[in-house]
Amino acid sequence: MAIRRKLIAGITSLLSVMLSGVVQAASKLNMRPGVTETSLEAYDLHMMVIWVMVGISVVVFGAMFYSFIKHRKSKNPTPAKFSHSTKMEIIWTAIPILILIYLTIPSVKLLIKMEDASNPEMSIQVTGSQWKWHYKYLDQDIEFFSNLDRSIKTDDPLYLLAVDNELVIPINTKVRFLVTAEDVIHSWWVPDLAVKKDAIPGFINETWTNVPTPGTYRGQCTELCGKDHGFMPVVVKAVSKADFKKWVAGKDAERMVAEKAAAAAAAASWDMDKLMALGKETYDLKCASCHKVDGTGIAGAFPALKDSAVAVGPVETHMSIVVNGTSKGMQAFGKQLTDAELAAVITYERNAWGNNAGDKVTPADIQAFKAGN
């Protein structure tokens, strides 16, 4: 298998170089073989079908071009009279069937293998929402959001392919992904692992991988999911089992610190300026892509917050929308932000851009609200 793969890769790259001249590096023209057993097999199947298609092209297009040259009117002024041949028609019905059988057998085998997510060694719930991924390790007490790293510039090789929190998994472990979504359909794709599964709100799909080599594998959302569909990458970092244990321990420590900070924040005194400052920071980062920096929203799609009934109306309604989301498309931010950030952003919305609710919401209010939920 390996030799054939090398041979095929060799021929492909040679052909690619010829095709592309000097413009492209050869490897850019083809699918990446990836690193997992299934992705390598998918690659082999891909190359096999490509070569079958090239073979058919040579025969069919060859016959056509032969005809163009030899059977043009100047060469062949009197056309032949035949218009039927049962024998030929049986032959060219039968041959494609044989070719298809040849292609179907490995496809069936590989498909069954790829869809067999049984006996996983660990499971991770992958949840898509507009426009980020959320990962929850079902065997560890770890969960976090994974957002596009917007600090990376266009000319960087990682542009649109880097996130703030990578999904970390151990190598040589069968990891099962339970894929779902909060709002619309997304699709979770990592090309090097040959894993692509739709994330469907209200349903859970199953897929799996077993990565043999440490490395960072990058992909993107592949189902149109709204405005920022192009801006929700998937990054999987495969590490050794020992490193994975260390990472889990680190995450546990991080969580303790975060819990303490949250408790401290709730207990601290929050004056208006402090809330407004943190609120603006949070708003511009999390809310402005839809509701706009100046709170005017996008008419017909994302409601304006400036002068809105929600932002200057009863504070409970406002908190409920931000914390729990709505059925009309507003996300639930209750878990995405800390209580302090939630309090600050609600306060900011109620008092920015000429909104004059005048009241402030503190982290303690948020905690009380969540408790009463």
Binding site: H46, V49, N76, K196, Q220, T222
Partner: protein, 517 residues
């Protein structure tokens, strides 16, 4: 007085003449082609290089959505109906379509349907932005307010298509000249006849799915919302039960066109006429049992995936028969390469390439890698542009002398062909590579590694766009000042329209049916 016809605007508003209606369909589809093309230019300009340059991602989504909807429902489908109107009555020796008043209505619905659809661009919240496949819940709970205009527009074009299809079926069943048995009909009539059945079967399904969307949006149902016991994936099943036959609706008439043109310029009868008919019918039947190959990643049971994979791959067999028969028609013919023939040959070659990538996409385990990437975009543009649109273009060049009595300029036609041929490949071939490299479709911005392919595709697209304007000029030049066409402009042409009618074909033809041996 067979050439007598009313004049002025009322001629077009009130017409029940299949030739007038055919012309209106063709002009309408060409206008839509340019409108949808302009949107493609916006898309390609934005994708010319990484980074956001011209439009914001929200508007980008509106452009991809509207481009798809307009090209599918506004450009390709009406162009095929236009050809059917012009050609079917002349080919089977009928004086007109069987239901001429309905024919008028089915055309005149379209301008209103597309005015509704296009007006959404100017509405609060913008035009539909959920892709031409309008998957729920992006199009239901999350759709912009203009989605309701989209739904109404789709209903109207659906009614138009259903009426057009009924007309074709009734005409073919009842209006054939004496002696024109079913198995003597020209291939173009056969392919359209089969297409009409597909339309009648699936357009109501499309109407159903948009109605379910409407009630989900406004009347409290939850067909596609899991929170109310529905299922977003059910939307995709219903949509693709329409959507896959729809693909063949767009391509089968083009098969018919090249099956007329290739024999004419090979000066040889179409090879394997009856197997062509059976192959077309098999493709149509198979198209009803393969829809979920568009959905290999939604999490179907593996048995379902296996079924749809194998059924889909089977389509390659009848499609292969068609390609082999076209090649065999040319084999030992006496070939010349006028513009319609060039477009038909390009059709066969490039459509076959689209078919190859189709077989690749059918293979579920590798489809996981291709699905929803630019590889898919390359695939369906290869079957739609050099497929359906080259087919229509070939038809226009081939029958223009019969329709208008004027010949186009062969040299200009060939320039149009070669420009189209170069640019269509420059636009869509690199998309295979960007897809294999991992670029998802429907994204407004991308990583550097996809930059070269996208630049080439954009350059190709601008060239391809300009070339179509050149096509318009070519046609207008021919109609205004072309040389007079002969009754039988092509020496290898066969069929009643060439053998029994002058050029241009008079306003009323076959008032007494011709005799067919």
């Amino acid at each position: 007085m067979s050439d007598h016809h009313p004049t002025g605007i009322t001629r077009w508003l009130y017409t029940t003449n299949h030739k007038d209606i055919g012309s209106m369909y063709l002009w309408f589809s060409f206008i839509m082609f340019l409108v949808g093309g302009a949107m493609a230019m916006v898309i390609r300009a934005e994708l010319y290089q990484p980074g956001l340059q011209f439009v914001d991602p929200g508007f980008f989504n509106q452009m991809t959505t509207m481009h798809g909807l307009i090209m599918v429902f506004g450009a390709v489908m009406p162009s095929m109906v236009g050809l059917a109107n012009w050609l079917i009555p002349m080919m089977i020796g009928a004086p007109d379509m069987a239901l001429p008043r309905m024919n008028n209505w089915s055309f005149w619905i379209l301008p209103f349907a597309f005015t509704l659809l296009l007006s959404s661009l100017f509405m609060e919240g913008g035009a539909p932005n959920f892709g031409w496949t309008f998957y729920a819940p992006l199009s239901t709970t999350y759709g912009p307010p203009s989605t309701d205009f989209f739904i109404l527009g789709v209903h109207m074009m659906g009614i138009s298509s259903i009426m057009g299809a009924i007309n074709v079926i009734v005409t073919v069943f009842n209006m054939r000249a004496p002696g024109m048995t079913l198995m003597k009909m020209p291939m173009f009539v056969w392919t359209w006849f089969i297409t009409a059945f597909l339309l009648i079967m699936v357009m109501p399904v499309l109407a159903g799915v948009v109605t379910m969307m409407l009630t989900d949006r406004h009347f409290g149902t939850s067909f596609f919302d899991a929170a109310g016991g529905g299922d977003p994936v059910m939307f995709q099943h219903i949509f693709w039960f329409f959507g896959h036959p729809e693909v063949y609706i767009m391509i089968l008439p083009a098969f018919g066109v090249v099956s007329e043109i290739i024999p004419a310029f090979s000066r040889k009868k179409l090879f394997g006429y009856s197997s062509m008919v059976y192959a077309t019918a098999s493709i149509a039947l198979l198209s009803f049992i393969v829809w979920a190959h568009h959905m290999f990643t939604v999490g179907m049971p593996v048995a379902g995936e296996l079924f749809f994979m194998i059924a889909t791959m089977l389509i390659a067999v009848p499609t292969g028969v068609k390609v082999f028969n076209w090649v065999a028609t040319m084999w030992q013919g006496s070939l010349t390469f006028e513009t319609p023939m060039l477009f038909s040959i390009a059709f066969v070659i490039l459509f076959t390439i689209g078919g190859f990538s189709g077989v690749m996409l059918a293979m579920a385990p590798v489809d996981f890698q291709y699905h929803d990437t630019y590889f898919v975009v390359a695939h369906f543009h290869y079957v739609l542009f050099p497929g359906a649109i080259f087919g229509t273009t070939a038809a226009v060049y081939y029958w223009l002398p019969k329709w208008t009595g004027k010949m186009y300029n062969e040299k200009v036609g060939k320039i149009h062909f070669w420009l189209s041929m170069i640019f269509v490949n420059l636009t869509f071939f690199p998309m295979h590579f960007s897809g294999l490299a991992g670029m998802p479709r429907r994204i407004p911005d991308y990583n550097m590694m996809f930059a070269d392919f996208n630049m080439w595709a954009s350059i190709g697209a601008f060239g391809l766009g300009l070339t179509q304007v050149f096509f318009l000029v070519t046609i207008i030049m021919a109609i205004r000042g072309g040389k007079k066409a002969e009754e039988k402009q092509w020496d290898g042409a066969t069929g009643l329209e060439w053998d029994a009618l002058p050029s241009p074909a008079p306003y009323h033809t076959f008032s007494t049916p011709p005799k067919v041996d």
